[in-house]
């Protein structure tokens, strides 16, 4: 039973990190229909930026986190302005393909700036262990769960209540109508990319704090696909639930069925979901009036 609880906490914390990466992906998809293949690399930049702040600049962790968030937002804006903006109005497939190129560029850039060897930084998440009943779980993993949930909740609220959030969803629904009410599409796309980069950076920081800083973090970004396909490409709630399910599925499979299988089980699930419910658990249905 202890092992099960430990696995559950570990799976959920990984799942919430997936959710943070996935939610950025969802935000970009919602605003512009673009599938961002560079989402994992935004995650990667999150881990390297916090390393840069805390270790290379020697900042206290609070300032390091703040700097990471600011730089990540800047990176998102820069990418939107220089790579995506010139393609507005082109077929959506062009924008999707350019994110694949972007992914390589970002990864190479991280490699050039920080090298390929794995790094670590002093964790800013509380270290030590927490006893729950008879189980012992890492405090850093435990705290990652509520932290991510709060952030995701704030994001959901942003989409329901705020002017830019509603505008983003409006653009996704009907671009011409959105334009007719003075909603500026470039501005909304820019906000979407900044948000995506920031949520990914938060996920990246947590990941870096738990498992260390290395290029392999970007691979975690690949998990975004099973997560969003399961949850629905355009649903934040779906990203959270999808993240939790994939995270748990991975650890349970690894522990109870066979190590190694945990790496492919998310993609098996992806195929199954696509076959029986292609818009995911919470994906947008097509509204038809009768």
């Amino acid at each position: 039973m202890d092992a099960f609880l430990q696995l559950t906490v570990s799976g959920l914390s990984t799942g919430m990190i997936y959710a943070l990466a996935a939610v950025g992906f969802v935000v970009i998809y919602k605003a512009s229909d673009v599938i961002n293949f560079a989402q994992g690399d935004l995650l990667l930049f999150g881990t390297y930026l916090i390393f840069f702040g805390i270790v290379q600049l020697g900042l206290p962790w609070t300032l390091g986190v703040l700097l990471t968030l600011v730089l990540a937002a800047g990176l998102g804006l820069l990418v939107e302005r220089t790579v995506l903006r010139p393609l507005v109005g082109e077929p959506i497939i062009s924008m999707i393909m350019v994110t694949i190129g972007l992914s390589s560029v970002l990864r190479a850039l991280a490699n050039a700036l920080w090298g390929a060897q794995p790094r670590t930084f002093p964790s800013f998440l509380p270290s030590g262990e927490v006893r729950i009943g008879t189980a012992v779980v890492g405090a850093d993993r435990l705290i990652a769960i509520p932290l991510a949930l709060v952030l995701l909740g704030a994001l959901a609220l942003f989409f329901r209540r705020s002017r830019d959030g509603v505008a983003m969803r409006a653009i996704a629904d009907d671009q011409l109508a959105a334009l007719s009410m003075g909603i500026s599409i470039p501005r909304v796309f820019a906000v979407a990319w900044a948000l995506a980069a920031v949520t990914a950076a938060v996920g990246g920081m947590m990941l870096g704090s738990i498992v260390g800083v290395s290029q392999s973090v970007a691979v975690v970004g690949l998990r975004v696909f099973p997560v969003v396909i399961l949850g629905g490409l355009d649903s934040i709630g779906g990203a959270v639930l999808g993240g939790a399910i994939i995270g748990l599925l991975e650890v349970y499979t690894g522990a109870y069925i066979g190590h190694g299988l945990n790496l492919i089980v998310p993609y098996i699930l992806l195929i199954v979901v696509l076959m029986i419910r292609p818009y995911g658990l919470f994906g947008k249905e097509i509204i038809e009036r009768v």
Binding site: A178, L179, S180, G182, I183, K284, R289
Partner: protein
Amino acid sequence: MSRSEPAASSEPLLALENVEVLYDDVILVLRGLSLRVEPGSIATLLGSNGAGKTTTLKAISGLLEVEDGAVTDGAIRFDGHEIQGLAADRIVRRGIFQVVEGRRVFEHLTVRENLIAGAYTRRDRGRLAEDMDAVYEYFPRLAERSAQAAGYLSGGEQQMLALGRALMARPRLLLLDEPSLGLAPLLVEGIFEIIRRINEESGTTILLVEQNARIALSIADFGYVMEGGRIVLEGTADELRGNEDVREFYLGLGEVGRRSYRDVKHYRRRKRWLS
């Protein structure tokens, strides 16, 4: 009644002077169109399919750009300032709001969220609740359904929402494109009654594009008839209602009985040469 007769001396809120519009750099859609809309009035733009009515509205609101159209000659003046070529969001901020044809509500947003989206450019955001109440007062049906996804509203309710969304922006000039499209006659009456009230109660100037000339002229102060990208006839609503050509071709009240399509074509061609 705030019927302002267009007089040459008064300053119009909106003036189009010899406006020419090209699509894709080659297709000439407006050929030297001129019209004026007096502050506080309702003007209507009549004409058949393809005459260029919607293009005229889009030229004013800046939405032309999305469709690779551009104003290539002439001037569009709003409140004395030239606005042709400005981006759509800048034009909305100046106080012109186009309700696009076919309602185009945001289907997955709730009624309330649609209204919030309409107020996107407003600076005095503290007064949104007040304005939302005003919209709900015009359209009680929307209040009942404020938490519902707009995609599930009926056609009439969606048209109400499209109008309500426009009101949230507090425009000085409201451009309406075929508000009667696809609605049952009784609903059309209701919608036009509200349009008249909006004009009367808030003083919002309205430029109305309509196929349904009878109902448009019933609330308008002044009207223009378009053919082939230019104005072929203009006058007060009363004058147009009395005009024989208008009676015959737009109101279906001809006294000589039904005419053949060939005669109609002939009429159009004649009008084009005359103008």
